[in-house]
Structure formats: C-alpha cells, structure tokens
Symmetry: C4
Subunit: 264 residues, 4 copies
C-alpha cells in the first residue's frame, strides 16, 4: 500500500523528474532539498507507504510527523530551462519489495504529468575523505553520455562499483521500462558515518544546476546543510532505535538512559 | 488481510476515538481498558488480522481465544461530554507494514462512524522508577497544545524522545492525512520489565477523564490492573515463546519443562 | 496466493472437518493420515500456497512432488456417524501471515461444503517420555466440554500451556468467527526430536474414533507410522537444509557430503 | 508484482519451455544461455519482479541494467525438432513466496503460447570435483523416465538428494498442476564457490541437444563461459554486498576499500 495525496495539479510542459531521497551520505537529499529551497519550488503532493518505518517522528512543539516523500514543482522561467518535478523525503522502503512498489507508484504518477526524463542524485562511498570529490554518472541509454559529459560528470561509475541500491537506481531501471531516459549523478563521499557531506553535495549541485540551466546561490549551502543534518541525524538514529525495538522487542534499559527514550 | 466484524451499528454523534493497544508499559491498554469497564461501554465490533501472531490463546475452561482488537462505544450522558469509540486489544502487528494496514483499516471504519478526533494512549520509557510520573503529550496540530495544556499534560515529548512506534503514533499520523486531529498521551514509566505501571496508568487516566469530562471511580484501578496484568503477562510470555518457536523451529526441550509447554 | 484445486464435488450432509497437518510430534498428521487410510476416504481436492517452502521433493522413481495439503471425504455408513472432510498435508505456512491466509482459504472452501464443526489434532510437548499419554482438549464454546468429556479427553489444556500455534489453533479461532464450533485434541508427547509418537497418535485416534463412532483396525498403526515416519523425517530434514540454503545462501561444502546434497 | 513485457508475439507450434535461471553452479544459466546464442534464438519478452534484489547493475559505458529474466524463442528447422521458448535471467526471487509468484506468472504466459512440456536445467552439488560428471534427472510423470533414459540421463536424483529449490523444481511442480509434463536435468558439480562448471554445463548440454535434436558447436563453450562467468561473478558479489547493505544498513568502512564501493 503506497498512497500519493495530491494537493494541486500543476500544468507542466515536458517536466524532468529530479529524485533526491535519503541514501549514501544523504547527498541526494541535501542537494535536491537545497535546490527546492533556492528555486522556491512549490509542494504539490506527498506520498506515504506501508513500506516505511511504522513510527511517527516528533518535532518541535510536540508535533507528530508521519514519514513521507514530498513532490515539488517548478516552472521554467526562461529559454533553455525546463519544468521540474523534485522529489525528496524522509526515508526509503524498509522492505526489499517495497522499493519496487514505491518507485512504480511514483512513475505512474509522474508519467501522467508528462515526465520522460529523470535525474537521480546519490552518493558513491569511496572509503576516504574526498578533498576534491568528483561527480560520477550512470545512464539508461549510451547517447546520454555524450550529451552530459560536458557538465563535469565522469561517466565511469562502473569502474568504481557495480550497482546502485534503492530509488536512485530503480527510478532509472524502471523508468527505462516505460520508455523514459535518465541519468544518475553520484557525488564521491567517504561513506563514513558523517550524515551529510557538503563538498559532495556542492559538486553534484554544480553539475545539476548547469544541466538544468538554473542559477542558485550556493552560499547558504553549508548553513542549510547543518540544519538538515540535525534533522537527518535524528531520523537516522530513530530508525536505528526503532529497528532495535521492532526486531528485538527490547523494553528494558540495558545501555543507559539514551536508549530508553522510546515511546509506543 | 485485516477484517472488522461488526455486531452492532451504533448511531454516534461526532465521536472521539480513544486508542489503547498494547505498548510500552501497557499503559494505554490498562488505562483504556479500565475506562471501558468503569463507563460500562458496549462492545460493538472486533478486528483480527493476518499480521497478528498466528496462534490462539487458551483461557480458563479450555477455551480458545483468537488474537483480536475490540471496539466499544459509549454515548455522552450530559452536556460537555462526547460520544466515544474505545479501542483495546491483545496485540499489534507482528510485521512492520502490517501496522499501516491495520491502522488504515480502523480509520476507514471509524471515519464512517463520524470520528474526526483521536486520543491515543501510551507509555514513555524513562529508565527510572517514576514516583510522580508526568503525562507528556504530542499533537497533530499546534493549536491543540493550547487547548489541552490545562489537563495536566506537558507538551514536551520531543525533548525526551523523537518518535512513537506503532498504533499510538500512526493513528495520529495517518488520521491527520484524513483531516482528523489528535493527541497522544504518554505516561512516564520506567520501561523495566514490569508488565503494567499503576502510577503511570492512573496519571494518564486522570488527564483523560478530565478532558472527556467523565467521572470514574479510580479505587478499583489497582485491583483491576492486577487482573489485567495476569492476562497481559501471559500473552507477552506466549508471544516470546511463539516467536522462538516460529523463528527457530525449536521442538526439543533444551531449557527445562517450562519452555516445553507449547502446542501445535 | 493459495490455490485449492478441486477434482470432485462430493455431496456431503453437514460434514465435520478433521484437520491433521504437521505439527508437534506430527501427532495430527499421523493420526488423521491413518484414519484416512483405514476409512478408505477419497481424495477430492488439493491445496498449494506461496507460503509453503519454495522447493519440490523427489520421491522414488525420480518423481517430483509439489508441497501440498490434501482434502479427503468419507460418507457416513450407518446411524450415529457423520460425513467427514479430512485434511492432511506436507507442511504449514513458512510465514506468519500465511497461516491466516491458508486457514481462511480452507474455511471458505469447507464452509461451502456445509462444514459447521471442526476437530483439529495436534501434540502437546511435555518434555518427558509419556508412557501413558493423555488426550487434552480445548474448545471454541464451553458447552462442548460437557459434550466431549466422556471420550477420554481431559479439558485442562490451559493448565499446561497457554497457546496453540498454527493450523490446529487457527482453524478453531477463525472457524468460530464464522459461527463454527470446534475441538482441538492434543496428544501428550515428549516433544523430543522423535518424528512421530505412536502412543500419542494411538490415544488421540482412540478418542477421535469414539467421537466419530467409526471402528478402525489399530493393528497396522505402528507399521504405517514407520512408513510415514520415513517420509516425514525426509521432509523435515529437507526443510531444515532448504531453510539453511535459502537464508544463508550456502553453496560450499562446510560440513561434509551430507549437507551438500542439494539441488537448484 | 511481477511484470512481463512482450516485444513480439511469435506464432509457436506446441513449444517446449527450457528454463535456465541462476542456481547451483549456474549450470542452467550457462547451458541455456549458450544454447540461445548458438541457435540464435530471438528475444521476445522480459520479466522483472519486486521479488528481485532492489538494485540496478552498472555495465560498461556506465549503463544501468535492471535485474530481469528474458524469454527467447526458436522455431524448428527440420523434422524431429520442436519450437522452443528459452528462459534465462539475472536472478531468482529474494523472498520465498516470490518464487511461487514468478513461476506462476511465467506459466500463465507460456501456457497461452501453447507450452505443455518443460525442461529445467540445474546443478547437483556433490562436494567433490567431478572429472566425469553425470546428468541426473527428475520427472513430473513416471512414463517420462522411459522416454528420456536413452539421452544420457540417469534417473536417480532421489538417491542423491531429496529436493530441488527454486525455479528448476517449481516449474515442474506448478506446471504439473496445469497438466504440463516436464523433466529436470541436473549436472553433477562440486558446489564449491566456482561460479560456473564447464564440464557440468557441457554434459547437460549434450543430453539436452540430443533430446531436442539440434546440433550446436560446443567449441566456443569454454570461451563463452569465461565471459558469462565474469558477469555472473559480478552479479553474485553484488548480491552479497547488497544483502549486507540492505540487511545490516552498513554504511561505514569496516573491512577495507572493496566493501565500500557501493552506491545508493
């Protein structure tokens, strides 16, 4: 069961889908989230799924927050730009089959809105701190390599690693089955348990904004990322504790007060 | 597969849903169960689900008992009171996605009966024995904080913990998606393997009965809780043994006679 | 996905369902299997399910055997007897939710054939070798205790253990939801890894045949059980190896030749 | 959710289904893959499923590759030959119930194309290096033993092992439920972590091509197998790493750079 609730039905002309869901280094989530803020894209739909963690988060002012993915749109302002649908969210599927269900549901939705091209954004874990991270790319069709090589993307992902797990890969794989074309942009990142990687997010954003021919102010990226990092760290810790609680049914304090702060 | 069997279709006017399913410290289950008894609320429907443990319990007089959740209703007796639907039960979902399925099924059901407001009751594990436990709260909408602050609820749950697992959280999260409003009442409890916590259940009941403007006799709470505790302990032990039997396929006596008392 | 394939549609008058699927000590499987043989009951349907292990067995003459449950019928021969539907099989559900799906599917099927009464047969593991095992019972409705006490059944199962896992319990629990009545007969057995227990199967058969008012020859029980035991041991070993292969993806010989005899 | 995308609807006369999905020693995959190449069979449909691993692979030229199974057809060229549908693929189901769903979906599909006979190809792990591996066989119906004994197949699989896990067994078991007939050809192989076994693939191909009365050039088998082996090794390693990443949520470098090359 995956449900998309639509608040508004924007008229979009041949829009591109940009996906930035949580993943390695949270590069996609941070980069696309920042892009949404800078473009002042408008939220028009949201998705929740039984394949998400079965908990709600608590935010400031004791407000509950259901885990969800959110759709934003932005209309081209000048020639050389494209209408955009941007997808960000709190999490991906907890189950393996849930990934396919959610991605197909989103593709059904955006296909009706006219999407034929997809960019997914993720991270490539290298195991080292990257001073000058590159953007590696992967494509659904060979001709896209030539088209996008000049945007600072090195199409050599397969030399480094052999697969892409989750939404960033499946949007392209399942999108291609529907006749869509797509590119995955991967920012090199250490993969160490740092929640976000400013350098990786920045270098991916640089390529992406060049491709989309939009200009955004990168100055606030560090600051915005620190804010996002607080939220993302929280949700990742909660997912870990919730996984422990769900799978081990642990109700006794064994490790100290921190672990005990759970509710149900 | 989740099925709600309806015995009676009460005519209710703008009822409030009060949820008390098993969770941390079983606060909700005990508190709402006691409220049902004291109000003499009437059972009108029951739910079972493939997401519950696949066993039946045995009660006195060798009677089998299918795991279920039960719906009770109570009609307002005087001005300032509201019609109520009260939900209690033996267990929650065994699977993560089952939580969403069951909560959505219940919301479909109570939405048709006119429910637009929800109170869920649970426990917040602190790791310490609480001599004077507080009631912490969380809300679907900010304006509810002001509305309910005067009932002895401290809306600061997010300072203490970041998420609510299972029904107590999802009823609010998924209810909000349907335009409902709700509050989660959490009684501070140690979280130690004591099955029920009288003080926590009592302090939550005090707030809840004030909010609902009903008067109930609290004297029998301790006694009723000891009875419930016997049943709840049994079902929790059975769930542990059943989980062992289901997951490890253990058919040999390895730990002594106690562990062997299982049937299938 | 659970499918029942029907070969014949017998006209049955108010039949009783007798369930004997694999469980503790395989008491039910052996006892009901023997009853089917002695009564010369006729197979009329079979069931398979995606919730069974995803392997086929190999029998003599290299013949593949899909895991299934089988339905037999027997028509009453004289006054005081009842038409019977007897259910035996290779296995139960691998997943927890699958138990509910399969039992409900069977109940849909037998309800259409007129079933309103159910007997399930299982084992109660005591942890000791039982020289004179008893038959313990559990019921859906209290009045059944009085009705069946005189058949050598002691209705005290709840003193010994608190739950029944799988089909033997769920047929009664879910059957009761449909207005059916039922009794579970449990033969005391050690629970040690002996595949079948002749004494337990025999004492349960004695009660069951008295209840059903049928006379069968018990002499061949030991012999038939040894034959069944060979088959049952094989399928249990295969389930263990298959579980290992499925969950650990073990393809290397680590323990010796025996473990390696697997195919895929 | 399992989807078969059809590119072409060939007119086939009483075709035989030959199944060669990944399994023990990858015998089936390699043998049937080679047969497809040598016969120049034409691809006409492909299948993907939510039960496959939720990742895409990366191939040369940074191209993403969705995990799939592929259908090829070949029309008989002379008397004594039969039209063929050949099935190969990247993987089988990750979940136990998914095996049943996928096999039934394929059987629905090929049944409409006229398939009544099935050959599945797999490996039998013996734990020893086999210098002169045999082909063992298993059948849906006893009369098939006599029919196929003269093709170098020894019908004694049940002496060696008791079950067949996954597609190679379920195609026959579930096919038989639909009135189809089938044979499983198993090449003896060590089962050691060598990805492919040339001798086993060759001896199975010899029997299969005799049965099908087709002549193919076996010279390029070794060479083709080395190419396939590279791809198969990659996908198996990726499945292992992906399983680790999916189940343990491991995002930190703990074992060295190799483990870190993952993307999402």
């Amino acid at each position: 069961m995956t449900i998309i609730k639509v608040f508004e039905k924007p008229k979009l002309n041949n829009p591109i889908l940009i996906e930035g869901l949580p993943g390695v280094g949270n590069i996609g989530r941070v980069a696309v989230g920042y892009l949404i803020d800078e473009l002042k894209a408008k939220k028009f739909a949201q998705l929740y799924s039984e394949h998400f963690f079965p908990f709600v988060m608590l935010h400031g002012e004791s407000q509950i927050h259901l885990l969800k993915n959110e759709f934003f749109y932005w209309k081209a302002k000048k020639k050389g730009q494209r209408d955009l649908i941007l997808l960000v969210g709190d999490c991906q599927s907890l189950s393996t089959n849930g990934h396919y269900e959610i991605v197909n549901k989103v593709l059904d939705f955006v296909e009706k809105l006219g999407v034929k091209e997809i960019f997914t954004v993720g991270g490539l874990a290298t195991g080292e701190i990257e001073e000058n991270p590159e953007v590696l790319g992967a494509v659904t069709h060979p001709e896209l390599i030539k088209k996008y090589s000049r945007f600072g993307i090195r199409f050599a992902a397969e030399e480094r690693v052999g697969y892409i797990v989750g939404a960033s890969g499946l949007f392209l794989g399942l999108g291609k089955e529907r006749g869509m074309k797509g590119v995955c942009l991967l920012g090199e990142t250490s993969g160490f348990p740092i929640v976000t990687d400013p350098k990786a997010a920045e270098v991916v954003l640089k390529s992406l904004t060049k491709i989309l021919n939009v200009k955004i102010n990168m100055d606030k990226l560090d600051e915005r990322m620190k804010e996002m990092e607080k939220f993302i760290k929280k949700i990742e810790n909660l997912q870990k504790k919730a996984l422990m609680q769900i799978s081990k049914e642990e109700k006794a304090p064994v490790e100290g007060k921190e672990q005990l702060r759970y509710i149900g």
